[in-house]
Symmetry: none
Subunit: 213 residues, 4 copies
DNA sequence: CATGAATGAGGTTTCATTCAT
DNA sequence: TATGAATGAAACCTCATTCAT
């Protein structure tokens, strides 16, 4: 039993190592510039071993991006889910969620995902959509749910929680993209907090439940 | 006179043709996938002629992107400048500007610029910044100016026009990016109008001059 | 055992084949005119295989020249070493060595070595020196040793065996270069013998041990 | 008359400038590596102007080499002609000629000639011969004449002045080539004098007129 | 299953050379 | 006659991918 399991585990580990190496190299060099030899070297395996696990360089990109997208998406979901029980001070809860989302979106992984998908948008549009489903869209759906429930309970004032959610996220990612120059510059934590505060302020002005803070 | 002008004009035209062809091919295939032979063919010249005008494939990218960025930036600037004399109905003026900006940002040129710069963000960070200076940053600065003057004249309520401008643009580009899936899908004009309307509504809620509409 | 040896042997053979092909093509066309495709074809391998063994076209030149230089140098050394036991008739032994050296220096390999190193003397001066160390300098050192011992045993009359050796070789290579016009013409065996005879005559007049023959 | 001469003179000057530039660039980079653009730049003219004067890159090589060869040959001839009236001390006169020849052969022009002809020996054998006719062969013939006359007047002891001349030159150029490593190293004047002295000593031992010095 | 070796294809770039001015 | 611009050809090198071991 163990004897049969160990190689399977080893195989899975090797697959993980290859995908992680692939994402790292793709993020560093871009898809076309990255060469399979370097990915294999970074994963600590030989080049044909990569082809034993993944059929193609394109598959390598797809799988590694989807894996990274799942991780980022899970983090975003976690940040949004904290709005499930916002407590008395809803703006504070929104600010907390905003800061968490900004930290994720300002991370190197998020920028790499954006860059790699953008670069392939013409050649592999489904990949863009698949990644989007696992990150932005997933986050947006969850946030729409949260905001909808908050509206139902009277804590927010909107009849269109989808647009509200979209704008909440836009007020975060827009300024972040602007400040980071598409990931070229780092955005300091203090600046992230300022963005979050401004976003929450504007969002609350538009969707707050009547009582101005 | 004409006889002396023709060659210079011919040279300029050829340079223009090369840069236009370069942008078209880069936009279609991406930087690495694009090959100089195809650019030359699209420009109607021989391959070495391209190298007579531009030293490098990289220079070809840089020059063609900066040219496109200037064009897009000029359009954006024009849209923003319309806020100089907003008339009595400021929200309507904002809506008009918003629609114009959205139409520009939803265009193929804008998406290509975004994609091509993103893809080279690691290798050529200055290029990202140079393009940004000519498009987003320029637009943002102009909008900041406009909003600041409107605030001075009491038509808007904010002490931080830079953030207001940043958020105005974020409320446009964020949802647009979301709907278009990084340029993968077309965003219909009606949808663009809805985005603009929602953006102006939220913006006005936050920065309107007291009298709620 | 055999099964393990075969692949290594095969690799070595392929490397040998590549280097031999490289030398042949370089000798035929010169360094710049020679193209890697032709070398690969002559070696019976594909072009990238050449690059799998040698990093560069320049490395290809270097390695193939050094290999040929080692071969030529070994032949020259062998000719000189025959002076170790010259027998009673030293001029005859010198003549024998002279003829052997001339035959080597008149060979296509020697001329090719000279041409290829000369052509790269500005760009790759160390290569010139490395080849020289393995051919001329090596021969000169060995001959200096032989002549020095002969002088010690009273069979030659000189206190400067290095110069004697240098002149002995000069009396061979100088006229050979002159007659062959830098390798452009073949020098017949009879002509080689005449050169050798004249060289030995002059050498013996200058360094003979007193008794004229 | 002047009006007709001036352009002709200008044309000749331009041709000279082009040939000089060609030789300089060929000497610096080798034939294949040298590009016509650089030659034109060094000559201070435009590229097509070069082609107006010389039909080919190959003609450029040929003409510039022959010009340089004529110059070097004239210098050698001058050195040899000094043996026409050797005075009482013939070895001293030979030493003087030897030193002069060595200085010429150690010059950058001579080495460049050797390198450039060697490199093209396979492709352009006639060029090698033409250059040789204007340099080494011309010198050898003149020296043969001088030595023949000296032998007739009893100042030298040989019945084969051609071989004597060949060996005299060999005793100079052989050691020079050896020390300079095919022009890679400079050979100091003192070393040149030592080579000349040793050459004359050996030559005189073989061909001196009976009275040993 | 993992690997060293090999390959076919293709890209960027440079160069000698020639028109039109 | 001298030149700026243009071109056809070709070379080096790299890469993704596949056999034998």
């Amino acid at each position: 039993m163990r004897a049969a399991e160990v190689p399977a585990r080893g195989r899975i580990d090797k697959r993980q190592a290859i995908l992680d190496a692939a994402f790292a190299v793709f993020a560093r060099l871009g898809y076309e510039q990255a060469c399979v030899r370097e990915i294999a070297a970074e994963a600590g395996v030989a080049k044909p071993t990569v082809y034993n696990h993944m059929s193609d360089k394109e598959a390598l990109l797809r799988e590694s991006l989807l894996l990274a997208a799942d991780r980022v998406g899970a983090q975003c979901l976690d940040a949004v889910e904290r709005l499930r029980d916002p407590g008395a001070d809803l703006p504070a809860a929104l600010d907390d969620t905003a800061r968490r989302l900004l930290r994720i979106c300002a991370g190197e992984t998020s920028h790499a995902l954006r860059r790699l998908t953008s670069a392939q948008a013409n050649r592999l549009p489904e990949l863009v959509l698949d990644v989007r489903d696992r990150t932005g869209a997933r986050t947006l759906d969850a946030l729409t749910d949260r905001l909808g429930l908050l509206a139902l309970s009277g804590k927010l004032s909107t009849t269109d929680p989808a647009t509200a959610a979209e704008q909440f996220l836009a007020l975060l990612t827009g300024p972040l993209e602007n400040r980071s120059a598409q990931g070229t510059r780092k955005v300091a934590a203090a600046e992230q907090r300022a963005i979050a505060a401004a976003a929450v302020r504007t969002f609350w002005a538009a969707y707050g439940s009547g009582d101005r803070t």
